[in-house]
Structure formats: structure tokens, C-alpha cells
Subunit: 379 residues, 2 copies
Amino acid sequence: MKCTVQKDKLADAVNRVMKAISSKTTIPILTGVKITSGRDGITLTGSNSDISIQTFIPLEEDGNENAIVHTPGQIVLPSRLFSELVRKLQDEDVHIEVDSRFIAKITSGSTEFSLNGLDPEEYPNLPIINGSDAFRIRKDLLKDMIKQTVYAVSVTETRPVLTGVKWMINDGKLSCVATDSHRLAQRSVSVENGEASGAHILVIPGSSLNELSKILDDDDEQLVDIVMTANQILFKSNNVQFYSRLLDGNYPDTSRLIPTESKTTIDLATKDLYRAIERASLLAKEERNNVVKLRAEGNQVEISSQSLELGRVFETLVPERFDGEPLRISFSAKFMMDALGKMDAQSVRIHFVGPMRPIIIRPIGDENILMLILPIRTF
Amino acid sequence: MKCTVQKDKLADAVNRVMKAISSKTTIPILTGVKITSGRDGITLTGSNSDISIQTFIPLEEDGNENAIVHTPGQIVLPSRLFSELVRKLQDEDVHIEVDSRFIAKITSGSTEFSLNGLDPEEYPNLPIINGSDAFRIRKDLLKDMIKQTVYAVSVTETRPVLTGVKWMINDGKLSCVATDSHRLAQRSVSVENGEASGAHILVIPGSSLNELSKILDDDDEQLVDIVMTANQILFKSNNVQFYSRLLDGNYPDTSRLIPTESKTTIDLATKDLYRAIERASLLAKEERNNVVKLRAEGNQVEISSQSLELGRVFETLVPERFDGEPLRISFSAKFMMDALGKMDAQSVRIHFVGPMRPIIIRPIGDENILMLILPIRTF
């Protein structure tokens, strides 16, 4: 193998596949990045047991030359060292030449590196995914969907399926839901070509979605192609392919958790509520449980918390709307801030059924988003 | 005590004194910030066993009203909570009112905090420093002096005096030197009014100088007043006073460490040399010792390093000047990068006496700076 690549293109491509590479893997070759020089360009691959990322550098793009392949071939190089090295090179061109003993000579300007590589034949193959069950979604929408649901997945492995986000594709609509059994987040959106793919339910690991969100660039209006199989999902965008395994197991039916009635309904400015809870949480955190109290009465909402050692705090808010019965309820400040922080709407509508029933938070003006948190008994 | 303060002024002042406050102190009252409302303004104090910081908010400044003192008084409040709270308040004005049980009511907009404070009478007094032995230095010069010497102090307590930087004031000149016995940094500068103060030698803890550098704002041309006593030093700038204790013990005579002759003298572009060593260090780090080799011969300088497991690297540099004998020498990549990274000059001049004698690095065009590193035997 022998090729020449633009340093910036290479650094960018390596940086993306690094997101899939763990230094803690038990399979030594997976600590490496696989580089393939082919007829059309250069492909980089990184993988761990959950996700695989492949980036492609085409020889030419928008009339600019990215790379020259002198001799096609493959090599696996130590990923961390290679990525740091590429980032720190001074010259614009990077030459890579690999001999039969898998030693890669990397030269750039006055720098000459010899890196001991590994046999690319030993690198595991990526899953084969053929594209019958597929749909498309705008990149910014996909990122929003991930942000607004993934924070609510379970972080413990007690029920492994809850560490994932459930995706339901049906009739041109994608619905996502995540819950750790103390709170829940759900969001739905229309997708392109979703009718053709039939109905699907799949559970994607939360950690995969977080990594996916990081490697999607900011070209928001672009479409991402999504292809599903029984145990894998593939996201394709520009020159990046992102594979994730799916979680096994039955995801619980969450629809019956969501109360349909409301005894108290309050509309509040999202930011004001967020900041009031954040300040009350300063004391609540010190008590280690991070629970704040909400009292709604006489067209006034009061958020409070108390620490025997440090003192107490009262925050007063005037709701934009107040319907129904007076109310006293307690909840986790962190859970409420997590939910509010994911909403872009100016105002939120909060439904209460009673001091021990789920609290529903929705952004005003968007029926596709619903957040739920369970209250905590303190009264 | 009862006063009203501009939120931003208060947040800024608290933020600075926090640099002196440690949550790990064995004296509980020192985890607090002391607030004093006086006739002219509001003073905040934070302290630990090494340093004390005092910031002053004058009632008026540049025609703007910063604060109103309704009733003078003092209180000690939990510092971390108070600083977070002030930062997160939404309104511009913060009202503080303290009752006889040291409970502080802090109100701002719709927020009402009650914080349990401590008796200010129990707060230790700051050292009394009267100003006979004093001089002045420009803020940017002071920051440069700190940056260019403090990195070389010892981080182990084997010889406590080496954890400090030695300052010598004599005849209008300030000379600073730091060494951990493997490397040395020294810098001198002219100061104002230094003649009047007589000759002084003092050793300031490196950690104090690091904190001082952080709290000095970016108004670079301003002068800092420095007052010395036998065991304390005080830095005064704007409305900030920074006190540090001094280190006891005799600082070793470092002048005899610095070779006066040179067998090989090389001039190199600072950045190119830094980057070449940085890349060579990628492999050297993996071998844990982080040692790189330098070979100078036939008007060429080669930096190299090698890892049995990963590979090898050669960097070639063409010096701007090369005088004297060919040379092979090894040294710590980190030490050389630390020294080079502190120099603003385009080029550096490096003097070598032999493979086991100290290496001297000086920025070309500034005789006031000298860095020294000891080589490491590998050949």
C-alpha cells in the first residue's frame, strides 16, 4: 500500500472513527484503525463491540484533490498514536507506505515515522447490511430526537433494555421513547420514505446514539439514510457510515404510564422555571437527595428547598396560566432541569394529577414532545 | 449588616477570593468568605494557610453606583454555595441583610435565600504589612516572570525550599530563579522604586504565584505594588490584595550550575523545534521515560526517538546557525517543551558543553531569560 493524503482530511477522518475505538477492548486489533487505500479513495474503520464507524476520503471532492493512491492496500495502525501524529504534522501532505512486514512509513515535511502495524486480514468484518428497510431524516431533526430522549435512558444494567431508546417506525412516522422507570422522554417526527419500510420496533443503545450525535457534522439540512436489520442499524451521512448493534429484549409498554387526565395545569416560562429550580437545587444538592418542593396556589408558584445545616430558599414564579386545584408536590431538581433543558420552547405546560402521580411536561406549541417525571414523597 | 450590591461586581469579587479558599481546610471558618460592609464599600476576604485574597467593591466607581451600605457589619458565609448562588441570580441587585444570629437573608428579584453564616469575630486576622520595603512592576511583566519561572519549581517536598521561586531584589532589578534540580529557569527585569527598598532575597511558594497569576486581570499596563516583610509578601493591584507566606530555608546557590563555556552552539526556530520534539515525544511517551535524542552534525539537527513496540521517528531540522563540535545528546522531551513553550522569541540559541553537561536555552534577542535542563544518559 502506498498513498498520499491531505493532512486535514486525514485528521478529520481519523478523529471521527476514533469515537468507536476503545483502548480498553479485550481484542487487541480493535485498538487500531484500519486504513484501506482503494481505487476511489481511502477508507478508515474503527470499531468496538457496540459500534463501528467508517469514514471515506474520496480522491477528489468539489474539484479538489484529497488523496492519491499509488498502490492499493490495507493496514491496521495503533489508533491513538496515529491520530495524535496526524494532528501534529506540519506539512499539508501525508505519505503512507506500508511494507510486507506491516511497517508503515509515514512521512510529511521533515518528519519520518515508522509505525509497527498489524495484519489487516485479522481485522473483523463489518456487519453486512442490505438496504431494503430504510428511511431518511434531516440531520438536525435526528440530533434533536437523540438529545430529547437519550438523557432519560437507564444508566444501570438492572434491566439492560432500558439502557436503550426504543424507536418505532410506522406509516411514515418515527416515535422514540426512553425511560429509566423514574422518568420518561418521548418524541415523534415524520420521516421520508418511512411508509415503504413497513412497521419496525427496535431498541438502540443510548451510548451509540450519543456517539452518533457527536460525529454528525453541522450541515443540518442534509438527510441521513437509516437502514435497519434484525440486530444492526446503519446511519449513512456524507462520507460517514455509523453501525450500531441493537438491544435484545422486550421494551416495556410505556403508554399506560402517561396519565390522561390533569387536576392542575400550569403554564410557565421555561427559562424562569429552569433557573428557579437551579437555584433551589444549590441547597437541595447539599442535602444529597436534590429534591425541591413546588407549591401552586392562588395564581402563584413557589419553588423551595431547605438544608438544616445551610439554610433555606424560596423562589416565586407567576404562571402564564393556572387551571385547577392548589397543589403541593416534590420532585428531583435534576430530573426537572434535565427535561426543561431539552426544550427549545419559550413556555412549558405542566400537568399534575396528584402528589404521587406522574408529572407531565410539554413545550407549548409542539405536541410531538412529552417528558414525564415521577414525584418524590416528602410531605 | 445590611447592604445592596451590583450582582456582577459581587460575582467577580467572590470569584477572585475563592482562589484562596480550600474546601479541604482543617479550620472550618476558612471554608467561608468574609464579607465586610464598611463606610467606603464592601470587602470580601478568603484565606488558607498559604495565601489570603481580599477584594474591595467601592460604593462608587467611574461615576457608577456599585453598592449601597445601609448598615455596616460583617458576616462569614459558606463560600462555594454563596459564589454559585450569586452567579445564578437573575436580577441585577443583590440585597444582603444579616441578623444577630448570623443568618443572612439574600434577596434578588423573586429569589429569597436564608443562609446560615458564621461569627465573623472568629475569622483570623490577615497579616499586618506596613509598606517600607516596596517596589512596583507592570502587570504583564509580572505575569511573564511568573510563567517563565514557576514551571521549573520542584513538585516534591523533599527539599521544601525548592517548591518556591527565589526572588532577589537589588539595585532596581528583580531576578527570579526556580529549579527542581533537574532543570532551572531564570529571568530578570527592571522594577520601579526598587532602589529604595534595599537588597532582599525571598522565596515565594510556586502555588501562590500560580494563583496570583490567575486573579490578575488583563489590564496589562497597570502597575502592581509589592510589599515585603520577613515572612509575608503582599501584591496590590486595583481593588485586589493578594497575601502569600514566604518559604523558610536557604535557597541553594544556582549560579555555579550554569556552564560558562559552550562547545556546540545552535540557533533554531523556536516553533519548529518545539513541534519536532512534540512529535518525537509521541513515541517517547509510550516508553514511559519520554526521552528524545538529538544529533547535530554537518549543519543538520536530527531529533529522534524509538519504541520497541510501536516504531521509530526521525525529525530533521536545519539550524539558522551551527558553531562548534558535532554532538549526540538525550534529554526529557517534556522539560525541553516546557522551556521552549515559555519563550516568545522566534528563535532560540542552545549551548551544549558535552553529553552529560547542562544544556542552556536562551531566546535570541533577550538576555534576561535563561533556561537550563540536564541531559539524560542513553548513549
